[in-house]
Amino acid sequence: MSMLSSLLGNAVLSGAVLALAGQGELLAERVGVLNLGVEGLLALGGVTAIATVAAGHDPLLGLLAAVGVGAAVGCLFAAATVLARASQVLCGIALTTGGLGLAATLGRPYAGQPAAATFQPIDIPLLDRLPVLGPALFHQSAPVYVAFLVLPLALQLLLFHTRHGLVLRAIGENPAACDAAGIPVVALRFAYVALGAAIAAAAGADLTLAFVPSWSDGVTAGRGWIAVALVIFAGYRPWRIAVGAFLFGLVNALGYLAQARDWGVAPAFLSMLPYLATILFMVLPALSARSRPATTAPAALGLPYYRDQR
């Protein structure tokens, strides 16, 4: 396998976690709820998946268990932020710290051990024979295809090509108007926040069953926060999240390749690259935001909806 091909392959593998988590966050933010608990959801999903495959030896089972836990935790988060209308920022941070702590406790017996079962690469016929791109993009595990192809396509169709998607986007922009039009704002917000959390937990399962593949305390390494930033960088568009996740994966993989090729950059600086890229990617859209209003945040993002105050 050529160096370029395996670099791209690694970027895709590393970016898939961010792509999944980002798409989950996108759903919550499109209906107006800012979920800062992605990091905690990643950790909970990751540890659930590892514990499940240790018992059941089936990666799909691990992924489903992670989705289940993510949905349950997402319901709790939605109950606090959508029903009880508590501060979304504070609840999100609580979810992150609580999720990380709980995952570390639950994961103690599994820390450092190889995952009992992992996702194996699936070849896409014909495409996998393309030079360079074939082995990099079309010899990947199932969650990678979902993260980069299936989910962005599904969300793009849902959000921008269906009436239901229009309703969802409208809730994020102006919940009071939607309420007046007879749309169940609270129910839909609740459902999509929970769904988004389930997808974020699936990203955790992808991390520990396909990318690393093992559990350790701190394995998420800030990826949840990068995913939150990624949604903003991508202007709240599913396809751009997929592209952005690939770019982040590339920066991440390049950091290690720079050490392997001895480019003479300090290792500490190279480990910092993904986080540095996050800051850069946050500044870039901010500079162009004035000229492109279509990429700004949903107007009601982060605001609890009070029917009696409309």
Partner: protein, 374 residues
């Protein structure tokens, strides 16, 4: 302050802490060695508290698992004594807090099973009645010493076998920080390899942690992308071996037999066994007469050795490396001049050789090694 105010397990330990604190406050100019006795008094087994602080989780299947095995051996030898064990202590002020907590809980003896340096010695200075042992440490005091293994000797043996297992002669190494343990390990590995294949090179990647499977596996992938076909690692877990297995290259690891995680890639491992040393030290502390003394380096065959060769290692390769191992056990020093560093400068002249102290404090990369600061 924490020592004096915290709720101790026993009343006398609280007052002891307070006394220590007062002594330290009243005599700030007196050197501490005046306060401490040379040999430690005996402790009854049922009153003894022995504490262990680990860098990683005991489930890592590697470094910390070997130290946990030593704790279990000591528990079996002294069933009435109380053992404290804390996992995953970060190299930060949290370490100091954890070690102070050990003292507060009445520890008579504290083992730090990885290098914590000043984070540990500050606590040791404030508790002269407690014995401290630091694995891979470098400091000795009246109540503190260190222990480690001649890992460079085994790394040299693994290097000999690895050079034969590599087709390209391009070796890789995944390490943690630019510290002596990593320099010594990677240098000895390449010197061993070059004794068989003089053109061999070794590329090092550092991941800024002893235990970080996600960074370790990415580092291994990057080395493989760059054409490396044999990786040696002294990290705590098996993630590098897993990556090597998937990529179809070879790998040698540290600490334990990890062949379960990649039986085709597995060449061998640098096996660690701390149990006899730890049990011996605890025994001396309980019987009385423990003194810190100089540091201890466990030799090849007594605490450190190579593992049984992997199933893809041809018998003649294993035999060749074992012959080198036998010579080392017989007293041969492979680190004889001339040895040049990465910039081509002669560091060990012909006729001279590096002793254990020099190997344990290695701070420059040998010729052919890239990725470690000169």
């Amino acid at each position: 302050m924490l020592v004096a105010q915290g709720p101790g397990d026993r009343e006398d330990m609280v007052s002891l802490g307070r006394r220590t604190l007062l002594a330290a406050a009243a005599l700030p100019v007196l050197p501490r060695r005046v306060l401490a006795a040379a040999a430690f008094p005996a402790v009854a087994e049922r009153d003894a508290v022995i504490a262990f602080g680990h860098i990683g989780p005991i489930s890592d299947g590697g470094w910390t698992a070997t130290h946990h095995a030593a704790v279990l051996a000591a528990k079996a030898a002294f069933p009435a004594a109380k053992f404290l064990e804390v996992e995953s202590i970060p190299v930060s002020a949290d370490a100091t807090r954890t070690f102070r907590q050990f003292i507060e809980n009445g520890a008579n003896m504290v083992f730090a099973t990885s290098e914590y340096g000043d984070l540990l010695s500050g606590v040791a200075d404030d508790a002269p009645e407690v014995a401290f042992l630091e694995c891979n440490g470098h400091r000795t005091a009246d109540n503190e010493s260190w222990y480690y293994v001649q890992h460079w000797m085994v790394s040299y043996v693994l290097g000999v076998a690895s050079a034969r297992m590599s087709r390209s002669g391009r070796l890789g190494f995944v390490g943690s920080f630019p510290v002596a343990a990593v320099y010594g390990c990677a240098n000895a590995f390449l010197l061993g390899a070059r004794s068989v294949a003089p053109a061999a090179t070794c590329q090092v990647i550092l991941i800024n942690s002893w235990f970080d499977p996600q960074a370790a596996s990415q580092a291994a992938s990057a080395l493989i992308q760059n054409g490396v076909d044999m990786i040696y690692t002294n990290l705590d877990d098996a993630s590098v071996l897993q990556v090597a297995e998937r990529a179809g290259i070879k790998c040698a690891t540290w600490s334990t037999d990890m062949r379960r995680s990649g039986s085709n890639a597995y060449v061998s491992s640098l096996l660690l066994d701390w149990s006899p040393f730890v049990v011996g030290q605890v025994s001396r502390r309980l019987a009385g007469g423990w003194s810190a003394g100089p540091g201890t380096l466990l030799p090849v065959g007594h605490g450190v050795d190579r593992d049984r060769w992997g199933r893809t290692v041809p018998p003649d390769v294993g035999a060749m490396a074992d012959a080198v191992r036998t010579r080392i056990i017989g007293g041969w020093n492979p680190f004889a001049g001339e040895i040049r560093d990465a910039s081509g400068r002669i560091r060990v002249a012909r006729g001279q050789s590096m002793d254990d102290a020099a190997c344990d404090a290695w701070s420059w990369p040998v010729a052919g090694l890239t990725g470690l600061p000169a």
